[in-house]
């Protein structure tokens, strides 16, 4: 069969998807970059430049896996084979539902996640609009599990990262010397891990394919390059012994600021790689159906322009509105020092990149909260407000049904309009 409204559907999906990406850039990026700006390791302007470059790179280079999951991983294609338009309506409805729910929630200040909204919406329309069996419950269960595991994992990594910083640097007789000695290794770690995970999950879509050995080699090279840049940056630092009189760790923290810049890049990359999918996953589904003339193909490759569109949307969101949010969030966090900020952010970035590689859509913000709490457990934070954790639990419970109900509503509305 042919789809009479094919172009209309694609245009609608592009518009909704782009708007969603804009929302991610406008709101979510601020959470991802907040710890970097708050610890004063980067200025707001630098944070915006870092975010623009690395969000885009993350979306383009590593955003494919999660996009595939959102596009086709959660639904059973066989059940949809005869009625491709249902999937189109559903995906459009999901984008609308998630977008509207996020608008409501961020107005009210609830810590809801883009990811949870879109997953709730897709599961909702599929289960009610098509049938309970249309949902791949096993896969959806895995995604739900990952929402609990990812903050926990970031917490554990953050805890151990900070404990290692305490043992190697802060709690020694010569913290400044040890910071000079060990911080470059942390920088290496940032470059190496992020590069390795990205390489392993493949850059096939941009025409690069490597063997395992090549992957390791390239990751090592990227790690070393970051380390060299880091060492040069640390060498260029000016230390002021007078600054240490009041607070003995002022100069040590300066070294950590260099590390934090790398971590901020990693976080922006990780965020781009996971969150672009929320916007472009449904769009990709619509495009593939229309282009395949109605066949709900599970195999078709993800067109690269879709990732580009998502990445561009994020950057436009960042430039038009996100910079204000980054400024607000960043200046609101005054208690964070670079040594803590780096541990929490790197823990989150690593977790998110691994999830992106595995194709699991998780919440970057919640993962970062996990990382911060992990550092807090190592007695690294002055005071953390635990009400936020309760609010996050509540948002989990509320967001899924809310996204689902809204998408069911839009699903039937769209179905009514077009058939």
């Amino acid at each position: 069969m042919t789809l009479e409204f094919g172009i209309t559907f694609i245009a609608l999906a592009c518009a909704f998807g782009f708007f969603m990406a804009w929302g991610v850039g406008a709101n979510d990026v601020a959470n991802a970059m907040g710890t970097s700006v708050g610890s004063k390791a980067v200025t707001i302007k630098q944070a915006i430049i870092i975010a623009a470059i690395f969000e885009f790179a993350g979306a383009y280079l590593a955003g494919g896996q999660v996009t595939s999951t959102i596009r086709k991983g959660m639904l059973d294609a066989n059940l949809l084979a005869g009625q491709p338009e249902l999937l189109i309506f559903g995906m459009l409805a999901s984008l609308l539902a998630a977008g509207i729910w996020l608008l409501i929630a961020s107005r009210a200040g609830w810590p809801v996640s883009t990811t949870h909204s879109i997953v709730g919406a897709i599961v909702g329309f599929a289960a009610v609009g098509i049938g309970i069996d249309a949902v791949q419950w096993g896969k959806v269960g895995k995604i739900a599990m990952s929402w609990i595991i990812s903050p926990a994992m970031a917490g554990i990594i953050g805890y151990w990262l900070f404990v290692s910083v305490q043992r190697l640097i802060l709690n020694t007789d010569e913290p400044l010397q040890n910071a000079r000695r060990y911080v470059p290794f942390y920088i290496f770690l940032v470059g190496f891990v992020i590069a390795l995970v990205t390489m392993f999950k493949g850059l096939k879509h941009i025409g690069l394919e490597f063997s395992t050995l090549q992957n390791y080699t390239i990751a090592l090279v990227i790690g070393f390059l970051s380390m060299v840049i880091g060492i040069i940056a640390i060498r260029r630092l000016r230390f002021d012994p007078a600054a240490d009189r009041d607070f003995h760790f002022t100069n040590v923290e300066k070294i950590f600021s260099v590390l934090m810049i790398f971590t901020a890049c990693a976080m922006a990359f990780a965020h781009g790689s996971n969150d672009v999918a929320n916007a472009v996953g449904p769009l990709a589904a619509v495009v593939s159906i229309v282009e395949n003339n109605g066949a709900v193909a599970q195999k078709s490759a993800l067109p690269v322009w879709i990732l580009l569109l998502g990445g561009t949307g994020i950057i436009i969101g960042l430039i038009t509105y996100g910079h204000k949010v980054i400024a607000t969030v960043g200046t609101g966090i005054t208690q964070l020092t670079p040594s803590r900020g780096f541990a929490a952010t790197l823990a989150a970035a690593v977790t998110v990149v691994i999830a992106s590689g595995t194709g699991l859509p998780i919440s970057t913000t919640h993962t970062l909260v996990g990382g911060i709490l992990g550092v807090g457990l190592a007695r690294g934070m002055d005071a953390l407000n635990m009400n936020v954790v309760r609010a996050i639990f509540l948002s989990w419970i509320v967001t899924l049904p809310a996204g689902a109900v809204l998408s069911i509503l839009f699903f039937y509305t769209l179905k009514g309009i077009f058939t």
């Binding site: 305490q166 949010v325 009400n387």
Partner: protein
């Protein structure tokens, strides 16, 4: 605009407020030196203005204490226990309260110090204030301790500070014994009610050092986990 999840996760740090409070306490009790100088010279007008100054500074410390208490919400996840922190704060505040009581009592009864005691008494007051200053030095290490996660060099540095505080306190005890025996030798010649209150003043001044020591030990307790 709605606050972001990440920025609302950070509670306001209690470190600086605790240190500011201790600084204000120290400022208050340091005024006891000019106060006692005026008392020794029996310059009651000057003593009166000093006493008022002490009362005002005590009120200022009180205000800081209340502010810190109010800004420390229940569901705060801190590296130190909330209860221990509040107890350190209470102890600190008691030092200022005691200074205010001492000045108030002396002014109210126009207590005259026997001439033989003048030098020893000034030394006594000075040492007690020093004990409190030492407690302040320890409290001022709190941000460094937070930075290192309460371990290593910073912790041993703090331990030596507390040790010094204990030494100052036991010195004030010795001076107190000396002053008491001097008063005892003269008490037959003095008015009995005067003597009673003189002993009270001696006690209370000694309490300053005791309280300072307790700030130190509470502080140590707060850090141990």
């Amino acid at each position: 605009m709605a606050r972001s999840t990440i920025s609302s996760l950070f509670g306001s740090s209690p470190v600086k407020p605790l240190q500011t409070h201790m600084a204000s306490v120290q400022e208050c009790i340091a005024e006891l030196v000019p106060f006692f100088e005026a008392v020794i010279q029996e310059d009651w007008k000057k003593a009166r203005t000093q006493q008022k100054k002490i009362a005002r500074l005590e009120g200022q410390a009180d205000k800081l204490k209340r502010e810190l208490r109010m800004h420390l919400p229940k569901s705060l996840f801190m590296p130190v226990s909330r209860r221990d922190l509040l107890e350190v704060l209470t102890m600190q505040d008691k030092i200022a309260n005691k200074a205010k009581d001492i000045a108030g009592l002396i002014i109210g009864r126009k207590i005259v110090l026997p001439e033989a005691l003048h030098d020893a008494f000034m030394e006594y007051v000075g040492r007690c204030i020093e004990a409190s200053a030492q407690a302040q030095t320890a409290i001022n290490e709190l941000d460094e301790l937070m930075e290192t996660g309460f371990g290593g060099k910073e912790l041993s540095l703090l331990e030596s500070m507390i040790k010094k505080l204990d030494a100052i306190e036991s010195e004030t005890d010795k001076i107190q014994v000396k002053i008491r025996s001097a008063v005892f030798a003269k008490e037959k010649e003095m008015d009995p009610v005067e003597v009673m209150f003189l002993y009270k003043v001696i006690d209370w001044v000694g309490d300053l050092a005791d309280l300072a020591q307790r700030v130190g030990s509470r502080f140590e307790l707060m850090l141990a986990r």
